[in-house]
């Protein structure tokens, strides 16, 4: 299979322009909010734009900011369907899935449009491993209106299920339905496609899609982080480490530091690996304390790998499994149990 689609890549607005416009828009809305000038749609717009920036820049501070604004918005207007729908998105982003689903029920009662609520519900059901229910909703949405969003939703679900052929078909179809020039939705889709190939173990295909996403949006931190990961696996170790050094030094997400520490340790740069490992540990302690569900999986993975504290990993993997019973969560939990069996209570550092 030719994993890199034969579809012509949509030309989108340059990443510098798009990000500048996004930042300017957020700043303007923030100022208007300070002056008390925002109506409900503008509040939601602000929160959604900050969440978008969080996805691109990979900044945890942005997720927190969006969440804080959404909580305030819903508190001020508890019967506003749009506010509840927006809060559901921010809660889901922090893996507060049960609360997010409850918000969606309320949003529906208070008149939020059915397709928007169902799209959010499908995304959450997919995230928690209720794939059959998610698939039914995704299919209904695509049958109702086969547009970029609905087809991308189907693609992401099949990708998560490891159904590569179906996922590729829907990725292509959604691409064909793209009728805009915004780089954000296309780059996010390319990232998902790369992630699917990464999980499938095809680093070359993964690299093409991560490169496409990062090329479209050079500020797309997660795409560049995963690009470094596949470059490393493909033997381009120095380049990968250089990328991650840059990302880890500016990011508030410790994931880049973890990847960097692992690569440095594997290439015998043990002192620097230890430094990044400590950096990641401190940061994970902070963010897990604030948002345990959101970072349980990544933190567990850290303490199972370079963090080397299996007991700590086990409790987080257990929490993660409680939050979402997915194959990935089950595998992480199993790894933690095995690791605890191998070296109970011990701690070895690089």
């Amino acid at each position: 299979m030719d994993a890199f689609s034969s579809c012509a890549s949509p030309r989108t607005t340059d990443g510098t322009i798009a990000l500048s416009n996004l930042e300017a828009h957020i700043d303007g809305l923030e100022l208007s909010r300070c002056r008390g000038e925002l109506d409900s749609p503008a509040w939601s717009e602000l929160i959604d734009l900050i969440t978008l920036r969080a996805q691109i820049r990979g900044r945890i501070a942005d997720y927190e900011r969006a969440s804080a604004l959404a909580e305030q918005c819903a508190l001020d207007a508890p019967a506003d369907g749009l506010g509840l729908l927006t809060r559901a998105r921010t809660r889901a982003a922090l893996h507060r899935f049960d609360e997010a689903l409850a918000d969606l029920d309320s949003a529906e009662r208070f008149g939020s449009p059915d397709p928007e609520v169902e799209a959010e519900r499908a995304a959450i059901l997919q995230a928690v491993g209720r794939y059959d229910e998610a698939l039914a909703l995704r299919r209904t949405a695509a049958e109702r209106r086969a547009d970029f969003e609905s087809l991308a939703g189907l693609a992401s679900l099949h990708a998560e299920l490891g159904e590569i052929t179906a996922a590729e078909t829907w990725f292509d179809e959604s691409w064909r339905c793209f009728r805009s020039v915004s780089p954000f939705p296309i780059a996010l889709l390319e990232f998902q496609r790369g992630h699917m190939w990464l999980r499938h173990g095809d680093f070359k295909c993964a690299r093409q899609w991560f490169e496409a996403a990062w090329g479209r949006l050079p500020a797309y931190a997660q795409a560049e982080g995963h690009l470094a990961e596949v470059e490393y696996e493909l033997g381009e170790r120095n380049g990968a480490i250089a990328r991650l050094r840059r990302l880890a030094s500016v990011a508030d997400d410790p994931d880049y530091a973890v990847q960097l520490a692992r690569m440095l340790a594997e290439t015998d740069h043990l002192d620097e690996a230890g430094m990044w490992c400590e950096h990641a540990e401190k940061r994970y302690e902070q963010i897990v304390a604030r948002h345990p569900a959101a970072f349980a999986d990544h933190a567990a993975d850290f303490w199972l790998s370079v963090g080397n504290e299996p007991q700590r990993a086990l409790s987080l993997a257990k929490l993660n499994l409680k939050v979402r019973n997915t194959p990935g969560a089950r595998a992480l939990f199993a790894r933690a149990i095995i690791a605890c069996g191998d070296m109970p209570g011990t701690r070895q550092r690089h």
Binding site: A8, H25, D27, A61, E64, S180
Partner: protein, 382 residues
């Protein structure tokens, strides 16, 4: 609102959203045609920080037209010749701590390099162009116009300009009319604005001719005898405004006939009797959806739709037609639709923007500088 957010695609993608098109003889340079396209409406962005997309071709198309028939069934004959002014922009560069963007206007008189925001614009042979952020010249009270559609009654006036202080990205062309189509061409031209993709695959993303065709008239599904659950505006925007495909013409006609009949009923009398097939007298004229300017007539602030209405009456037109920036098209259009000028002027109570346009190039008012830049915000505010 004129063409702001006129359809789901434009609403979801403001960078492709053409808000307005204006065309008029230059008030300061007789014999010159002025063409203005506004796009990307925003209220909450500092004016200097917004940039044109490098993936969009901002295009204004001009064709010669002549009046083919008058009276009921009046129509224009659109010529095959076409001149277009296509603005494309490049990725901005950092300069003195801020991003500076440049672009090119590809015109029938040659390419002209333009720096975004340069007040004097740029000159070529017989053509002058401007590109940059300006104050949105449109004005409307949406409570009035929306209330009218929702309640099927003429609402009370609140007089609030719903787009007060809003900015847009504008491209302006002032071109010597005689250089466009040669000496044998007539004086009347038709004008359309489009945003299209700027890659090897070209797709029309938005298209505007006359203001409020899509929002005031096409948005109202309830009176449509054929499609009551279809937002038809995205389909319509994809069309070539000079040559609508026959595939959807019936759907567009049904939407216009039904919607305009509702407007006509609002004052309790019929000023636009439908024919025996239910066709509104304005339908075919408005589906020829372009601005029409007669360059043989002098600049006139209030020429909007005058040529078309004169044609329907079977009388010669008196003005240049087109559309001037400060003309209150909301009042004009509502009055035409509701009473055809046989009753009081229907007004939404908003008659101008806070800073009306000037009669000097680039005509549009400077942008609202607010909101000013914020200090960076990090994390959860205390």
């Amino acid at each position: 609102m004129a063409d702001h957010g006129a359809g789901p695609r434009a609403t979801a993608n403001p960078e492709i959203d053409i808000t307005d098109l204006f065309a008029f003889p230059s008030p300061e340079r007789p014999g010159h045609l002025v063409l203005i396209m506004n796009a990307y409406p925003f209220k909450h962005i500092e004016a200097t920080r917004l940039l044109f997309s490098d993936a969009i071709d901002y295009r204004i198309r001009v064709r010669p037209v002549r009046i083919a028939t008058t009276g009921l069934g009046a129509a224009f004959a659109v010529g095959d010749n076409e001149c277009f002014f296509s603005f494309t922009f490049v990725v901005p560069k950092q300069s003195d701590g801020k991003l500076t963007q440049t672009g090119t206007c590809h015109s029938p008189l040659g390419d002209i390099a333009v720096r975004v925001g340069a007040e004097d614009g740029a000159h070529g042979d017989g053509v002058r162009v401007f590109a940059g952020c300006r104050l949105d010249p449109f004005f409307v009270d949406q409570l009035f116009s929306g209330g009218l559609r929702m309640t099927r009654k003429i609402p009370k006036i609140t007089g609030v300009n719903s787009v007060e202080g809003q900015n847009v990205l504008s491209v302006v062309v002032e071109v010597e009319h005689a250089k466009l189509f040669g000496p044998d061409a007539g004086p009347i031209v038709a004008v359309i604005a489009e945003t299209t993709t700027n890659g090897s695959f070209r797709a029309r993303l938005d298209r505007v001719g006359r203001p409020e065709i899509k929002n005031f008239i096409m948005m109202d599904k309830a009176a449509d005898a054929v499609n009551r659950d279809l937002d038809i505006r995205d389909l319509y925007s994809e069309e070539d405004g000079f040559k609508l495909r026959p595939d959807y013409l019936g759907a567009y006609r049904a939407r216009l006939n039904g919607s305009m009949a509702v407007y006509d009923s609002l004052d309790g009398k019929t000023d636009w009797p439908l024919d025996d097939k239910g066709v509104h007298p304005l339908t075919e004229m408005l589906l020829a959806d372009f601005l029409v300017v007669d360059m043989s007539k002098p600049f006139d602030e209030d020429g909007y739709l005058e040529i078309e209405r004169a044609m329907l009456r079977g009388a010669p037109h008196k003005t240049c037609g087109g559309r001037w920036l400060n003309h209150d098209i909301v009042d004009s259009l509502l009055t035409i639709l509701i009473n055809n000028g046989n009753g009081p002027r229907i007004s939404d109570g908003v008659d101008q923007t806070a800073v009306p346009a000037s009669r000097n190039f680039p005509y549009l008012s400077k942008p609202n500088p607010m909101p000013p830049k914020l200090a960076p915000l990090v994390g959860i505010p205390m």
